[in-house]
Every structure is written in structure tokens, then in C-alpha cells.
Point group: C5
């Protein structure tokens, strides 16, 4: 039955469609709205891009350290391109590994290690157990990992939140610069319109950057982080239980006790 | 007396008049205000609708997963078209069922199962008890259900809250696009007015979407969710008490202990 | 001495001068400011009134149930036209009743029941005690009443808070409707001014409704509710103590223990 | 040594320079900025003053009772003209009194009572002890006083906070009145400028009233209140310890235990 | 090995690159954006600088005491020019000192005291231990220092936060002054543009001051303060452990127990 179990749930990390579709969709809508109104060129202005994007990045840098800003970019990459596993799928998978280890011995997990390559955290835990490290020690090492990862995500989310507050402010600063320049030189009335258009561009950039990119990504990051913490805690419980050679039924109870009610599993009937 | 009791309180789910009247009334007022001022056509603009409604949906999608956004639409449907029962009515009903079961035996509830079809949660609980599942087990299954349902509602309310913050931002972005386009092409002064009118439309759509639809629905959802949790907990207590064949007087005490003071019941005099 | 005691503190509910003077004063100031600037007629516009007042009411209705909105109006009426008694006056009054009952027996309170008609909560409690209902039972019934009343007030305050957030939004929506209409029809420049004036009226109505009426009433309601809860709890303690025929000195200690330090009383020297 | 101790720290209440300098400085800056730009007369308008100052006061009155608004004015007077003593100075002073009483007896404090006239709270406590009231009773009376005073300050701070939220709203209402009046009478274009100037004045008044007066005073009040509570608690501890004729070393320990670490004292070496 | 240990981690305080680069970068971007648009002179106006910078400082002074405002400037200086040590580096360093003291005696630390001159807090602790002050006493003195320092930082951060709220308000007040002056003198239309440009300058200054300087510095200060508290607590634990002549392995456990999981060290293998 062990092989069959593994066949039942091969791990495959999928792209997070909501994030990618949402981002593409929102930008497509903005581009379409611009094209419908006419010239696209009026919406690209290098100094405006400089002051909003550069200003948001530099002001965010003052708030944090270089390492935290860099870490945020890495974390965003992972948020964009990977979707989190369903907690109940992760739980079923862990139960399958546990009952396989129960029947054929821990060393039998060696054969399935390769199928876990898309879930490196689980793979690391299983390979530690296969290498004979005691269950309790594996648990304490992995738990520390889970907490550190959650802290990293929360830090990244707070960087994004702060940046989302600074972006509209930078847009306002850019617009004020443009307005002051325009008002100081009112000699040729025909330039008023285009000058104001350029002045408003920074407010536009700031609003898009904050509301389409930074706020949604921060919200998604916080949401994903707590979900990933749950999934990884399930992995920790499972791997530690395998390492301690406990009865898988006990593992099921443990896993269900940390699950939200709607996601609880019934592996044994 | 059992029959009489059931006759006393036949369950009937009514529409939530406040939500429907409020929504219809608010939109009617806006339509009337527009008609009084003249042309209705000036208030319909496809690109504006696209950027505000599409932008709010796509940006909300980035924040959450596709499933959560879809789940919110389902939950809104239920909020709009169903009103929650009064906790004290639910309590009296449960007391009636309990005293009927006490006098004529649990199996007598079989006959009234059909009259509970508008309250599926209660119906499910009673039919489990009639099927002989022990009271404690019924209670633990139903309680899990209550919590899961409350979590689903809270998630939907937070999706609506986030969307209500993004809608005005999308309105602003659309207005900025319109203003930049208008200001870049000031050659024909006669087009300035209509162009600005269209630019302002997205701000109008965003304000209506947020303040007439999203914020009120989120508030209503949070309010209804805690009310429904109370009513369902009353059902859980009642069904479990029936399953354990306890004295209905004990049930009355239990139910009153979780009721707000104004809603407490006196079933036995 | 009993008669003298009652004469000392006849209960009389006075109007809440701060609320009425404040409301009249604020509106008088606005009216004066309008008259000083000229025509009053420019500030009355039926569609503007419809969209702001109607819109705020309908959008608030979506957030709550019809019953809650109606209950809020009732509660506002009481807040406007009645001032809460001073906690220390209430405490002294209760001490007077307690020492009268101590000297002349509980039935002597029958004679003063009529003088309590402006404080119906206290009157109800005293008449229950006179009717011979045991002190502990009176206490539990009245306490439930106090909590239910506080919950009703808190609900009304949250309705007002939500309405105070929706009123300026409705003002903005009305102004946007007016602006779009004006900008779509710029043919006759002489109408621009009056059209914008009417468009701004809704913002004006929304600002007045929120800042002069709704926010102040919500604040007052929250303040009065906690004060009334204190006064009523003093009544509950007093009536229960009379019912249990306890020493009034014990009652004084009890009452002082729930009083803010500045309001504590010394009835016995 | 007793005389010497009193000589070491004669109590003198000084003006709070930060509050007075800050208020004078901020208003001086505004006046200078106005003079640099030209005519001062354009910034004084009676109806504008009426609507902003009167409106803020009346709307605040609705929120609270007349007594609370009057109490706030009294409390502001004290905040402006008195600076709070340094907690460590107060502690040293109390230690000096305690060791004087230890050496020469409690009655010797009679001679220094007059030097405490700028610190009436401490004076009241010491004279109670000199009059022979037991230490524990003095402590309970004074503690009640400290709490009542802190509550009064917190209430005043919340009145100021609410007023600081209402002032800009009243400014907006005034500006809307002015704009509507101006836009209704556009016949003579030469009056547009001055009319808009007057309309903007109320927004200016509201912004100055809120940001230069009300918000800073509320912040200062909250800060001073917690400092004064600390100083008065030190006095309570000291006076009670003197009344109980305890060893001053025990008092030093007590006082240091409630001090922030940076302010702890070492009276005995 | 002791010498080698010290050689491994000579303490060197570096500049905080993120703060300095961020500030320089943000201001460079603003200057570049201004130069690209033309004249730099239009962006310097003495009265505008006076009202925004002076107004923010004076209004902040009202909120706090002179000492607190002065203390904030000192704290900002340290935040700008010093970077905090990595907690794990600090922990390794402390472990090195502890094992050196273990092998060669506490007095051997005398030789390395000079290399700690960039970390005065650690130096002070070590020299106290070398002077023979008992470990427990050193710990209680240093702990008090750590708390006092953290309180000072939090106070400075709250001064910055309040100033960041007042700066845009001062910008608005300045702009309103400018607008009223311009609107009162509309005789020469050619001056409208430059007058409005100057009026907008204060809003520009306020936005830059708040969003590029005050908010980021307050955020950085809060972040650095909690980091410095951690590093200093590590020093306290280390110095106290050396003073008590405990086994360094126990110190490693203690230090790791207060570290965030990602930063834990393994000094002994």
C-alpha cells in the first residue's frame, strides 16, 4: 500500500494563480484604460518614475536595514511564484509517509525522498529522520526553522506596509515639485496643460504602486505566512512522530488538533 | 401538547428587509439625484466601469486566493437573501423540540424533521439524534461546524473590507488617468468639460462601490455572523441535550447562560 | 427623620442642557454665518437633502437591521431630553431610602413610591421590594435589566458611529454627481457658478450631519451610557440591600466601592 | 541638619517654559509669515472666527457635559502655567522631610509647613500627619485624591482630543459656506478673489486651532498627568511613612521601586 | 587561545549605511527632479522654511518638555552615525571573553579592555567585573541602564512621530496663508502663478520633512532600539556570568534562550 500512497499524492508546487492573474489583470486594465483614452506616451516620464520608485525605495531603506530590504525582495519572489499547499493535503501526505514508515520501516522512506523535492522543508526533515537523528532533536531543529521563517515573512510584510505608506507620499512630493515649477513659469499658457499632466503622473504612479502592488502583496504575504507556518508545523509533527516511531493514529490526532475545523482530516476510518 | 408546540413556531426564513431595502433605496436615491440633474447617459462609461470594478476585483484577488474571493460571493448571497432568526425564537423552538422528545421519545422528532427544512443546521442535528448517534458525538461534530462557518464568514468580511479600501483607490487611479489625458490635449477647450466629467466618473464609481455596497455589506456580515453563531450554538446545545435525554429544564438554564440578558427566555413557568 | 430625608432629595429629571444648547448653538452659528454672507436660499436644495440624508439612512440600514436603526432613534430621543443624575446624588438618595426602611420598616417606602416617578428604574425596584420579593431575586432581575440597557445603548452608539462615517461619503457622492453634470454641460458659462454651488451643498450637508450631529451624539451616548450604568448599579445595590434588610452602613461601603474616587459619599458621620 | 535639609531643596514652582515658548513661538511664526506676505487685515474675519471657534466649542459641548468642558479650561490653565517637579527632586525632598521627622520628631515638621506652600498636595499631607491622623488613614485619603486628579486630567485630555477633531471639520464647514455663497454670485468677477480668501480663512483657523493649540495641549496634558501622578504617589508614600514613623531607609526602597530606572535616587550612602 | 579569540572579533562600530544612503539618495532624487524641471531658486523661500520647520519644532515643544526635544536630537545623531552590532556577533564576542576569563582568570580581561572602546556599554561592564564588583550587583546596575536607555529611545521615537504628524499640518497652514494673501490681491494676474508656487512650497516642505525625514527616522529608531536592547542584554548576561565565574557553556544556553531563532549561536561544538 505504501507505493500506492505515494502515488496518491505526488507533491507538485503550482504557481499562485490569484497573485499572478490579479497583478496581470490589474495592469492590463490600467493599460487598456490608458489606450482607450489615447496616447500611451503621456504616461511615461522618467523623472516621475525616478522620484516615486526611487523615493519609495530610499525612504524605505532609511526605515530598515539594507539586509531587510533585500530580504523582502527575495520573499516577494517566493510569494509570487509559489502557491502554498492546502493544509489538509499536507496532512494527508504526512499521514501517508507515517504509515509507510510504520509498515516498511523508516529506511523505506529513502525511496520517496526524491518525490519530495518540491517541498524542501519536508524533504530535509525526512532525510534527517532517515539518517537516524532522534525524533525529538529533529523536532526542535525544525521548529526553530519554522519560527525563523515566519519572523522573516512578518519583517518583509512590515517593509511592504511601510513602503505602501511612503509611495503615495512620494507621489504627492513629485506632484508638488511639478506644480511649483509650472506655476513659476506661466508665461506660455499652452504649456500649462502638459506640465500639469506630468505633475499628476507622480501621484498616479504612487497610487498604482501602493494600491495595486505593495498593499496587496503585503496582505498576501501575511496570509501566506500564517498558512505556511501551519503546513510546516504539520510537517514538523509528522517527521518527529516518524522519528519517534509512534503510532500514526496518534499523529492524526495531533495534526487535527492544530487544524482549523474545516480542514480536519480522517485518514483512518 | 407536542403537536401544538410545533404548530406554535413553524420555522420560516424571511428575506432580510434591511439589506434589500437599504440597497434598493440607496441606489434609487442616486438614480433620482442623477435624473433630477439631467442626462443619465453622462454617468455610464465603460472604461470607467472596467477600471473601478475590474481593478477592485483584481487587486483584491492579489490579496487573497481565488477560493476566498469566490467564497465571499457565496457568503454575500446568503447575507442578502436570508435573515437570521431571533435567538430567543430559536431558543423557544429548541425547548419545544426538547420537551416533545422528553414526552414522546426521541423517535417522535422524526415527524417534525420536515418542518425544519428552512433551518438545515438544526435539521441535520435532529436527524443525527434520531438516527441514534450519541449526544456527545453530535455535539462535537456540530460545534466544529459552527466554528468553521464563523471562520468562513470572518474571512469573507475581511475580503469585503479590503475591497472597500481598494475601490476608492481604483477610482482615484482612473481619475488620474483621465486628468493626465485631458491635460495632455488641451487644444480644443470645448472638450475639457466632458473629459473632466468622465475622469471624475471613476471616483464616483469607487465612492459608491465602497460606501453603498462594500462597507455596509462587510458590517452586516460581521453582525450577522456573530448572531448566527449564537443561534447555531443554541441549536447545538439543544440537540446534544435531546441526544443525552436530559431534563429540558437543564437545557433552558444552559441556553439562557449564553444569551444576552435582553433575550433570555422563560419556557417553564 | 424619614420624611425629612425624602424632602432633602426629591428626584427631578432635568433636560440635558449641554446637548440642547450645543445643538442649538452650533446650528445658530451656521445660520448666522450664512445670513452674514447673504442669501439663505442658496443653501436649501431638495435633491441634495435627499441624497445625503436619505443615502446615510439607507446605507446605515444595510449595515444593521431595521430594529436596530429604529432603536437608535428612540435612544437618541432619551439622550437629548433627559440628563443623567449625578452618581453621588443617586447614592445619597438610595442611602435615604435605606435608612428610612431601616427605621420605619420596608412598607414605609410605599408612601414615597410616587416621588420616584421620574426615576422609573428605581421605582420599579422599590415597588418589587415593597411587594415582598426577596432581595436576591430583585437584584438578579434588575442587574439583567442594567446590562440589557447598556448593550442597547452601545448598539445605538455604533449605529451612530457608522452613520457618521457614511454621511461625508454620501456628501462626496452627491458632489461628484453635481460636478459630472455641470462638466457635461458647459455651454452656458453663467450656470457654472450656481451649478458648482449646488454640487458643493451635499458635501456641506454631509460635513454638518457628521460633525455637528452624529459624531457628538455618539460620543455623548457612550459617555451617558456608562454613567447611567453606574447610577443604575447603585440603585440595584440599594434596593437589594433594602430587600435583604441589611445595615445601611454596609450599603454605604458597597456603593462607595464602585464609585469613582471623586464621587464617594459620606452619609453617616 | 534638619534646617540644612530644608535649605537644600526649597520648593519653587516654575512656569512650564516649553508650553509657553512653544505657543508664543508658533503664533509668532504665523504672524511673521503673514506680515512678510503683506496685509494682516485679510486674516481677521469675525464670521469666520464665530463659526470655527464657536462651532468647535458648541459641538464639543454636545459630546460632553457643561461641567466637563468647564473643567477642561481649568485644567489647561494649570498645564500652561505650572511645570511639574522632577520625580527625583520630589523623592529627595520627601526623604529630607522623613529624616527630619525621624531625628526631631513629627511635630518638628510644623516649622517647615510654610515652605511647602507651592506644593499644596504635599503640604496637605504633612499637615494631616502633624495633626496626628494615623499614617494609614492619611495614605488612603491621599491615594483617593491622586486617582481622582488623574481621572480629571484624562477627561480633560479627551475633551481636547475631541475638540481637535471637530475644529478642522468646522473649518471645512465654514469654507463650504463661503464657497457656496461665492459661487452663487459670480456676477462681479472682481469679488471672486477676496470671497475665496475669506472662505479659506475658516479652514486656516481650524488648522491652527487643532494643530497649534488643541493637539499639542492634549499631548502635553497626558504627559504631565502621568508625571504628576508619579510625583504625587511619591508624596503619598513619604507622608504615610512619616505618619507610621518608619525608618527612612525603607521609604527610599519603596520610592525607588516605583521610579523609572533613570530617576532612582540614593539618599543614604 | 585567548589572544586569538580577541583577534577573531575586534569590535568596530560602522556607520549605518542604510540610513545615510537612504537620506542622501532621497534628497538627491528630489534635487535631480527639481533640476530636470528647471530653476532651483523657485524651491527656496525663507518664510516658507520658517513656518514649516519653525512651526513643527515649536508645536512639538508644546507637546513635550524642552529636555525631551533636546534628547531626541542627541538620539537621532546616534541613530544616524552608528550601526548596531549583529546580535550573533555580540554573542560570539561575549562567549570569547567568557572563555578567556575561564582559562586565564578574570584579571586577564584587563588586557583587552582597550579593544572594547567602541562598545562602551560592554567595556563598562567588563571593567566593573575586573574591579572585583560581584556579578549579581554588576547585572542589576547594567540592567537598569538597559531599561533606562530603551525608555529614552522610545520617548525620542514618540517625539519624532508627533513631529511627523505636525509637519504636514504646518505645511497646510503655510499654504493657506499664501492662498489667502494671493486671493486678496488679484489685481495683477501675472503674479498669481508665482504666488501660488510659493504658497505650495510649504506643503512641499511639510511632505518632505514628514515622509523623508521624520517618519523613516522614527521607524528606524524603534527598530534599532529593540535591537540594541537585545545586544545590551547579551552583554549584561555575559558580564554577569563572567563575574559569577560560571561555566561558559551555561552562558551560551542563556544567550541563545533570548535570541531570535535565526540568530542562535554555537560556540562550542
Amino acid at each position: 500500500m505504501a507505493d500506492e500512497e505515494i502515488r496518491v499524492a505526488p507533491i507538485r508546487r503550482t504557481l499562485d494563480h490569484a497573485t499572478i492573474l490579479g497583478l496581470l489583470g490589474a495592469f492590463a486594465l490600467i493599460v487598456v484604460a490608458i489606450y482607450l483614452g489615447g496616447s500611451f506616451g503621456a504616461f511615461v516620464d522618467l523623472p516621475a518614475i525616478l522620484i516615486v520608485f526611487g523615493g519609495t525605495i530610499t525612504a524605505t531603506m532609511i526605515c530598515f536595514s539594507l539586509g531587510e530590504v533585500r530580504g523582502t525582495v527575495t520573499v516577494i519572489g517566493k510569494t509570487l511564484f509559489q502557491s502554498i499547499r492546502e493544509p489538509s493535503h499536507a496532512a494527508v501526505h504526512v499521514m501517508q509517509l507515517a504509515s509507510m514508515a510504520r509498515r516498511h520501516g523508516i529506511l523505506s522512506l529513502q525511496d520517496v525522498l526524491d518525490t519530495l523535492r518540491f517541498e524542501p522543508f519536508l524533504q530535509k526533515g525526512v532525510s534527517m529522520v532517515v539518517d537516524g537523528i532522534p525524533g525529538d532533536e529533529v523536532e526542535s531543529i525544525l521548529r526553530r526553522d519554522v519560527v525563523a521563517r515566519a519572523q522573516r515573512h512578518m519583517r518583509a510584510a512590515s517593509v511592504l506596509r511601510r513602503a505602501s505608506e511612503l509611495a503615495p507620499a512620494m507621489g504627492l512630493i513629485g506632484t508638488l515639485i511639478g506644480l511649483v515649477q509650472m506655476l513659476s513659469n506661466l508665461e506660455d499658457p499652452s504649456t500649462i496643460g502638459p506640465s500639469m499632466a506630468i505633475a499628476l503622473l507622480t501621484t498616479f504612479y504612487g497610487a498604482v504602486l501602493a494600491n495595486v502592488v505593495l498593499v496587496p502583496l503585503a496582505t498576501k504575504l501575511e496570509r501566506n505566512s500564517s498558512l505556511e507556518e501551519l503546513v510546516n508545523t504539520i510537517y514538523v509533527l509528522g517527521v518527529a512522530s516518524i522519528g519517534r516511531q509512534e503510532n500514526p493514529r496518534r499523529l492524526e490526532m495531533l495534526v487535527n488538533s492544530i487544524m482549523p475545523p474545516a480542514n480536519r482530516i480522517r485518514f483512518f476510518d
